[in-house]
Each structure stands twice: as C-alpha cells, then as structure tokens.
Point group: C2
Chain length 151, copies 2
Amino acid sequence: MQHHQIDVHDTADERLRRDGQRYTANRRVLIDALREADRPVTVLELIDGTPGMAQSSAYRNLSVLEEAGVVRRLVTADDTARYELAEDLTGHHHHLICERCGSVIDIDVPTELEDGVSAFSSLIADTHGFRIEHHRLDLMGVCPSCSTAAH
Amino acid sequence: MQHHQIDVHDTADERLRRDGQRYTANRRVLIDALREADRPVTVLELIDGTPGMAQSSAYRNLSVLEEAGVVRRLVTADDTARYELAEDLTGHHHHLICERCGSVIDIDVPTELEDGVSAFSSLIADTHGFRIEHHRLDLMGVCPSCSTAAH
DNA sequence: TTTACTGCAAAGGGTTTGCAACATG
DNA sequence: CATGTTGCAAACCCTTTGCAGTAAA
C-alpha cells in the first residue's frame, strides 16, 4: 500500500477546500487514524483511538471527507459502516471479510484477474445502461481467530 | 436463473425440519415473495407485498430461514438488509448495485472470470489461514433511473 | 463578522426482543 | 400438552440532526 506516493494531508486539504470545507484538527486526526489502521475500521474504533472527539463530529466529518473523495465508506457483513482512505490514496485493493466477527483485511488481486473484472464491467455497463464507477471483489469466510473460537 | 431445478418449498421444508423448525404459512409466503422478486429485496418490500404479517415475524422468519440455508442476507450500499433465495436454489450469480438508490440487479459472470476468482480465493485462503466460504463480485455505480434524475 | 465547525443531547430508522396468546406436531 | 410461532409494543444500536457556542477565513 503506497501511502506516501502523494501526501495524504495535502490532498485532503485540497479536496476539502474545493468543497468549501476546512481541514480542521479533528479531520486531520481522523485521517491519521485511518492511515494507521491500514484496514477498514468502524466509527467506534476510530473514536476510541482519538479521545475527545464527539461521536457526532466523527460521523459528520467522515461524511464530509467521503463527499470530498478522501475516504470511502463500506458496509460489509455486519451492519456497521467501516471507513478507509480513498483508493487513489492507498492503491486499488479488495477485502477479505470474516462473516463471524465482521473484521476486514485488505488484499491485492493479480492483474489478470483485475483486467478480467474490468472487461466484464464494461460489458455489463453497456447491456444494463449503468454507469459503473467501481467494483468490489470480496472473499468471505471465517477468520483464523473465529474458527478456533467455539461458535 | 433456474428456480425450478429443485422444488424450493420442499427444500425449505426439509432444511427447516433439520433445524427443528416448522415450515409455516408465513415462511412459505416469504419464500414465494422472494421467488417472485427475482432480485434481493428489503424486508419492507417483502412485507408490503404480504399484508398481514408483522414486521417482527418477517425479521424473525428471515433469520430462521437464513440459519437453515434457505435464504441469504445481503448488505449492499445503503444500510438496509436485503434478502434473496440461497444460491443453491437460484444458481450462483453476482450483483449490479446502484449506489444512489441501493437497488440491486442479479447478473451472471463468465466462467473464465469465475474460475479466476476461485483460484485466487484458494490462494488467499492458504496465505491468510481463512476458511473462505464464498465471494462477492459486485459492480457498483449509478442505475439508469438515478442518472436521469437530478442529483 | 460571516461561515464552517464543534459538542451535547435528542431524535431517527432499521432491527431485535419480551411477552402473552396461538398453532402445530 | 410441549414446543415452536405469532403480533404487539418496547427496547436496541448505529447514525443523523437541532441547537447554541466556538473557531477559522
């Protein structure tokens, strides 16, 4: 994951400004937390790591950041939203999801497979009149720690 | 989508019995509604089409049916769960999702691509110690009706 | 000095649960 | 009759929103 190809803070600042928003301390803290997490994290996980920020601020800021294209909101297996940095800041990747506990791990996909998906994607876009903006290829199952734990 | 390869009601009845559950009128109605929908539908859509059933019963029954492996619960773009019949009753397929309105369309994927995903899947299972049970390959974008509507 | 941002508390919306009545094996 | 199922209403949890005060351009 090439976090430092471009400066995340500069990019965030620029994209927020474009939307008439400010890159405040809270928002910077969220971005840092997302960078450190290096996997999609829930809002609860985010504010646990950043004491002092109101939940409502976290939700509002993440929503503003998503609007600006700095972060991405995911809904995976459970019904809790998870956030990660936008793909142009971290590189394109996919997810390995535990359906038991909801945890998510980033994975990279071989280029051939990625190309196959893109080709298929354009085909479907044409036949269904959809504007396809991205895709997700998630592998779902049971993570090591959940499979040792009794269910 | 080969709904009639095996009889859905017989299968549902059998799988529920295996779990010590009964195949009641409400559950039969839900299964019929899901068959007719032919795409993942929300609980609200389901009970709108089947007046007389309490919401709580719909939720409880869908949960029992999911446990029995008769239906599958999805969470897509919005935070509303959608249900569809289990894949062994309808055939393996993937989803075309509108991120604007949350609607979902079933799509089939070429065999080569499907094979590529399976191969990749086993690879990741090995390297991460995950038991991978299935995958999802969703194409996400904006559906025709949302792209004509003003945003 | 206007506009965005913040925290707090309250409301919202999908989902789950307690309970007493009902239905099924 | 013993156990699973139902509807109703209340509770639950994640998320959003109203508001009055604060900070930034």
